[in-house]
Symmetry: C2
Subunit: 406 residues, 2 copies
């Protein structure tokens, strides 16, 4: 269990209970309630197939003008590809929570994660709401319980914190997320990655939306475990305002400091997802540069990150630069192979289109035996660049996904 | 070993020898020589990184006006990402073979397959050319030796044959290929899939080109093992003319019969590649229909075929329709999830956006325990359709590619 090094943001209470949706019998219902309506910005998966709760979230944010009083998450069932019945189940959950807490259904932000295409046992969920509400607390144990109940194949809780001062007042960010497989997020102003970012900053929904998009692009949209873009990916940023510090009246330096802190929290959570990726034994940072533009650099990064041949080579610390160059080559991006250079762990392996004369295979292999290493690919002299975080493909990944129905 | 059920096309001789390029010490140099210049049509990988022999092939076909006297294939080294040295090695091989056989270097069509980014030991290759030429024969054993020497991680030889009558004369097709991993061919008028199609039809290079493209699109361009598009993929069709039957003077029905026979041979070879795919335990035919157009249907098929979550589920005969629908959803193609239906092995699992009421999970699981089964995905009422052949992702695939440097 991670511990909380800093104070949690004010204005939020959390809880978690066992609703019996996870087959394991672990806690699977997470609830967060705000004291006052919290300004919200959310991003959802770009998958054409969107889970029922995501459709309800979009409706509720429109109806509320971008304010949220409660976040209701179940793990163990994605409530996706469940048709009208799935939509009804999500709405019923929100209505039931609304009655229990005394808020409007459209002030509830529902999320689901787990198996796709199987009806959500909504009666189990609703039956546990009174206990979940009764257990709400602003303490660290409650926040940890929330972060734990949202997990599926995750092996550990993923949390990150930051604190900045605005107008002399401390403003806190607490982020938590889940996700270990079906990770290839493509969020559009858009994850079964679920990310919840809580802050006690005072801000408008539009301000939150503007700061969330670049933070997500550089973090959650720049990682992949298996390249499978989920139907349920969601990032939610909630600002309670309870710090008394308003973003709109902060100095430019303070605003930048807050955005940087948000970016740092998103970056830590994104790293935690890859580090806990299904079967992962190596975390690989791809640094692409010299592409025609950033979009081209990202296509190259994804092509390498999703290549089963690259990923299996990394699992055995095999400096197989040929697979890396080949994967770059089928990314659908134009470049001159004679300009390509590759460094692994800072060591040259491939220079200007051919094996590096300075290549020391044993030394490179040693670098790759570390849990984390970097692969730098230079495509030429273009301005396009990208940093992308990914992982190896192991026998354990296959076991997890061949044996477990998500 | 497959056996030859029909006569081989006339006008060709084959041989194979051990050049010491494969670490295993197995035969690794394959040679085919034609009695007269054979009309040729070739398609190469769309990968931006193209191996040296593919660059030399394109030059030689231009220089010869589309005629070939010899095909020289080495396995064990792809001669790719090897810079100017690699190009020089390919040219040197052709020049040496030309001297030995008594033909021009530009009449030689070189191919390489194996590890990428490591210099080709061209001196070993050249030293064995006299023995390869001395061993040339038009017999079945020689053709089998050719088809065997081109293998890398393949577990078995892949050959197919057909025969049609044109103007009363028998015209034969003999095809052979290699490929088990790094299979996601995208051949453009485009594999390390190597395919050689020999026929004794008399035809012009332009006629061959026109018939090869649709056969390749429906076969090699509609399969994938891992989605890794190789730097070396090549399909070569050679027509010796030795049957005495000319395509240009055949009836429309005869021409169609020949094109059909070519398509059948390509289809059998494509199936053989998937069936022998690295670690494959299940061969899956995807039937996509109801898309807006054929290109959209193919994007959906590839998204499903390349999804690690779908592929691992198939390995355990898990009817996980949720993963199939999710993979369709991130293909970058628009459709209405409420219109989607999925059948596995002919049995309904998902109908009009939700789990099929008629779904019998045990029966579907039984279907999926078979080595081959079909998954049909209907997206709606559009005219777009696609048949695509793929396979499961197993622990054995990871072992093969984590342990072996290709």
């Amino acid at each position: 269990m991670a511990t909380f090094e800093q104070a949690l943001p004010a204005g939020f209470r959390w809880s978690a209970v066992q609703a019996g949706i996870k087959a394991s019998g672990r806690s699977d219902l997470a609830l967060a309630v705000t004291e006052e309506p919290a300004a919200a910005a959310a991003m959802f998966t770009s998958n054409q197939v969107k889970a029922a709760p995501l459709q309800v979230d979009a409706e509720h944010l429109r109806a509320s003008g971008g304010y949220v009083r409660a976040v209701l998450v179940n793990a163990g069932n994605a409530n996706c590809a469940t048709g009208e019945q799935g939509l009804a189940a999500a709405r019923e959950s929100c209505a039931a929570l609304g009655r229990t807490v005394g808020i409007a259904p459209h002030q509830v932000f529902p999320s689901s994660t787990g198996i796709i295409g199987v009806p959500l046992p909504v009666e189990k969920l609703i039956a546990t709401l009174p206990a979940a509400v009764a257990g709400l607390s602003s303490g660290a144990e409650a926040a940890e319980a929330f972060a734990t109940a949202i997990m599926t194949t995750d092996t550990r809780m993923k949390v990150a914190q930051a604190e900045v001062a605005i107008g002399g007042k401390p403003v806190r960010i607490f982020g938590c997320c889940k996700g270990a497989g079906m990770i290839g997020p493509q969020l559009v102003p858009h994850a079964t990655m679920l990310v919840y970012l809580f802050t006690d900053l005072a801000a408008q929904p539009a301000e939150l939306k503007a700061m969330l998009a670049p933070s997500v692009e550089a973090s959650f949209n720049s990682i992949s475990v298996d390249g499978d873009t989920s139907t349920n990916d969601t990032v939610l940023l909630l600002a309670s305002g309870a710090s008394g510090a308003a973003y709109g009246s902060a100095s430019q330096e303070e605003q930048q400091a807050f955005r940087d802190a948000l970016g740092t929290v998103c970056g830590k959570l994104a790293h935690a997802i890859i580090d806990d990726g299904e079967g992962v034994t190596h975390v690989v940072t791809l640094q692409i540069k010299g592409a025609t533009d950033d979009a081209a650099a990202k296509r190259i990064a994804k092509s390498i990150a999703h290549s089963p041949l690259c990923k299996t080579a990394w699992s055995s610390a095999d400096p197989n630069w040929g697979r890396i160059v080949a994967a770059a080559g089928y990314a659908g991006v134009q470049f001159d192979p004679a300009d390509v250079s590759v460094h692994i762990g800072g060591l040259p392996v491939f220079e200007r289109g051919t094996r590096s004369a300075a290549m020391d295979e044993a030394a490179v292999h040693q670098k790759m035996l570390q849990r984390e290493f970097e692969i730098a690919v230079s495509l030429g002299s273009g301005p396009g660049k990208c940093q992308f975080l990914t992982c190896d493909l192991t026998v354990e990944y296959v076991h997890i996904n061949a044996d477990y129905s998500t």
